[in-house]
C-alpha cells in the first residue's frame, strides 16, 4: 500500500490543471509580450490566471507579481524592500523575522546582515507563536520590514497575522508574510490580514513546480531582483512562464473553491491520525493544538532518530518527512524545534505527516497500524529505553 503524507513538501498536479496547461506548450506557445495574435492570446491567458490568483488573495490583479515560487517571492519581498531603501539612501536599515521562518527567509536575512542591514530574530513561544509583545519589543523606529510566516511548514502553527501586521503598520514598517503553506488551506484576505506583501507557491496546491507569486500592495516600494524587459510591471523581468502560470491560476482557483469541503475532510482524518499516534508511549504533538494548519501533524518520538523512522516508513510505502524537505539531508536538528524550546536530542526524533485531499480513511488506518510497529522496532534496537542516561 502506498500512502503519501508529505503534502507540505509538494503535491501531485491536479489532472484538471494539467489539462488547462497542455495547449501552452506546443499550440499556444506565444510570448505574452508579442504583438501578434499568438502573443496576445498568451497575454490574455496570463491575465486570466492573475485574476484567479487575485480572487483567492482578495487583492487587485495588478498587485500579483508572478515569480518562480516561494523562495523567489520571499527573496523579492525582503531584498526588494532593502534594495529600494539602499537606492534612495533611506535610514531604515532594520528588519525583523521570526526564528521559525523558512530557510529562504532566514538565509536572505543573514545575507542582508552582511551588506549592512540589522536583523532582529523575534522568538516564538512553545507553540511556535510570535506574541504581539515579542514583536513590540523587537520593533524600532528604523524598522523597514517585518516578516512572519502565516503557517509554519514544519509544525503547522498559524500566526495571528492580522494583529502582527497591525503592530508593524503602527510603527511605519512593511509587513510581509510567507503564505506558501496556508493558501487554499486557510482563507486569505490581504486587506483583512494587514499585509503589504504575501508569498505563495504553486506546487504545494496541486499546481506545477517552478511558479508562484508575490502579492505586492499598491504603493509598496520594492526594487526588482531581475532587471530586463520590464515584465510584471517592472517587478520581475523575464519572459513569463505562461504554461506554469496558467496551471498555478487554475490550481489556486480549484483549491479555493473546494476548500470548504476538502479541509473539513482532511482535518477529520488529521485529528484521527493525531489521536491514534499519541497512543504511542513517549510521543507528543508539536505546534499549537488549535491554531494549526488543517493538513499538519508533527510529532516527536523519544529514543529514536527521525531519519531512520522516515526510511522505515518509506519501506512500508508511507512517504513522510522529519520536518522541512529542504533540510532533510542536513545533520543539524530543526531550527524550528529548537526555537520552540525542544532539546536537541528530542529535536532529532521528529516526524511530520502532512495530508492532502486524496488521502483516505484507509490511508490513516494503515499508517496507524504501521507507525507504532516501526517506532517499537527502532526503540528495540536503541540503547535508551526510558531515559537518555
Amino acid at each position: 500500500m502506498k500512502v503519501y503524507l508529505d503534502h507540505s513538501a509538494t503535491s501531485a498536479v491536479d489532472p484538471r490543471v494539467v489539462d488547462v496547461m497542455r495547449p501552452f506548450f506546443d499550440k499556444e506557445y506565444g510570448n505574452a509580450s508579442s504583438l501578434h495574435q499568438l502573443g496576445q492570446e498568451a497575454h490574455q491567458a496570463l491575465e486570466e490566471a492573475r485574476g484567479k490568483v487575485a480572487q483567492v488573495l482578495h487583492c487587485d490583479p495588478g498587485e500579483v507579481v508572478f515569480t518562480s515560487g516561494g523562495t523567489e517571492s520571499n527573496n523579492t519581498a525582503l531584498k526588494g524592500a532593502a534594495f529600494a531603501q539602499l537606492a534612495k539612501g533611506g535610514e531604515k536599515k532594520h528588519l525583523i523575522a521570526s526564528t521559525i521562518e523558512h530557510d529562504c527567509v532566514l538565509n536572505t536575512c543573514k545575507w542582508l546582515e552582511k551588506i549592512g542591514f540589522e536583523v532582529t530574530y523575534v522568538p516564538v513561544d512553545k507553540y511556535g507563536l510570535v506574541t504581539p509583545e515579542a514583536l513590540e519589543d523587537a520593533i524600532r523606529k528604523d524598522t523597514l520590514l517585518v516578516s512572519v510566516m502565516h503557517a509554519n511548514n514544519e509544525i503547522g502553527t498559524v500566526q495571528d497575522i492580522k494583529e502582527l501586521g497591525k503592530i508593524a503598520h503602527e510603527h511605519g514598517a512593511y509587513f510581509h508574510t510567507d503564505a506558501v503553506q496556508s493558501i487554499t488551506k486557510l482563507p486569505l484576505d490581504v486587506k483583512e490580514m494587514n499585509v503589504d506583501m504575501l508569498s505563495v507557491s504553486s506546487h504545494k496546491i496541486h499546481g506545477p513546480k517552478g511558479v508562484g507569486c508575490l502579492y505586492v500592495k499598491k504603493g509598496t516600494k520594492i526594487d526588482p531582483l531581475m532587471h530586463g524587459g520590464g515584465h510584471e510591471r517592472g517587478f520581475r523581468s523575464g519572459t513569463e512562464n505562461v504554461s506554469g502560470i496558467v496551471g498555478f491560476g487554475e490550481a489556486a482557483k480549484i483549491g479555493e473553491e473546494e476548500r470548504p469541503t476538502v479541509m473539513p475532510h482532511i482535518t477529520k482524518l488529521r485529528d484521527k491520525l493525531i489521536e491514534g499516534t499519541l497512543e504511542i508511549e513517549n510521543s507528543w504533538l508539536n505546534g499549537h493544538p488549535e491554531k494549526r494548519l488543517p493538513i499538519n501533524a508533527h510529532f516527536c518520538f523519544r529514543f529514536i532518530e527521525g531519519e531512520s523512522l522516515i526510511l522505515r516508513l518509506d519501506m512500508k510505502g508511507i512517504s513522510a518527512s522529519t520536518g522541512s524537505a529542504c533540510s532533510s539531508k542536513s545533520l543539524e536538528p530543526s531550527h524550528v524545534l529548537l526555537a520552540i524550546g525542544l532539546p536537541p536530542e528530542d529535536a532529532h526524533s521528529s516526524l511530520r505527516l502532512t495530508l492532502g485531499r486524496d488521502n483516505t480513511e484507509e490511508d490513516i488506518d494503515y499508517t496507524l497500524e504501521v507507525l507504532p510497529e516501526v517506532v517499537a522496532d527502532l526503540r528495540k534496537i536503541s540503547p535508551f529505553k526510558d531515559s537518555y542516561e
Binding site: 545533520l331 536537541p344 532529532h348 534496537i381 536503541s382
Partner: protein
C-alpha cells in the same frame, strides 16, 4: 542516497541486542547529535567470541553498527582494533559524505569496547 548494502543492514541488522555480562562495553556518540552506539563484546582466548550492539541514530549509524560486528566477530583483539571507520564504510559500499564523520562511529565504539575489556583485565 544510501547503497543497497547500507539499506540491507539498516533493514536486517545483524548481531543486534543487549548483552548480559559483557567483557567490554564501548559507548560512543551523543543524543544531542542524534547518534549513540553501545558495542558489547565477549572475549575468549583473546578473540572476539561474541559481539552485540544497540544504536539510536540514522540509517548510516544503524548500518555501520551492524557491519562492524560482522567484520569483528571471530577476530583476535589485535586484528579487531585495526578496523577503521574507512573499513566499515567500504564494507557498506560507501556512505554519503555528510554521514562519514558523524554517523560512522562504529569502529570507534568497537575500539572503546576492547579498551574497556583490557582495562578491566588490567591489560592496559
Amino acid at each position: 542516497m544510501y547503497s543497497q548494502k547500507v539499506i540491507d543492514h539498516f533493514t536486517h541488522p545483524r548481531n543486534q541486542g543487549r548483552m548480559e555480562n559483557p567483557d567490554g562495553v564501548g559507548k560512543v556518540g551523543n543524543p544531542v547529535c542524534g547518534d549513540v552506539m553501545h558495542i558489547y563484546i565477549k572475549v575468549k582466548d583473546d578473540k572476539i567470541e561474541d559481539i552485540k550492539w544497540e544504536t539510536m541514530g540514522c540509517a548510516a549509524a544503524i548500518a555501520t553498527s551492524s557491519m562492524v560486528t560482522e567484520l569483528a566477530k571471530g577476530l583476535t583483539l589485535e586484528e579487531a582494533e585495526k578496523i577503521t571507520r574507512a573499513d566499515v564504510a567500504d564494507a557498506l559500499e560507501g556512505l554519503p559524505p555528510i554521514k562519514m564523520h558523524c554517523s560512522n562511529l562504529a569502529a570507534d565504539g568497537l575500539r572503546k569496547a576492547i579498551e574497556d575489556y583490557k582495562k578491566k583485565r588490567g591489560l592496559s
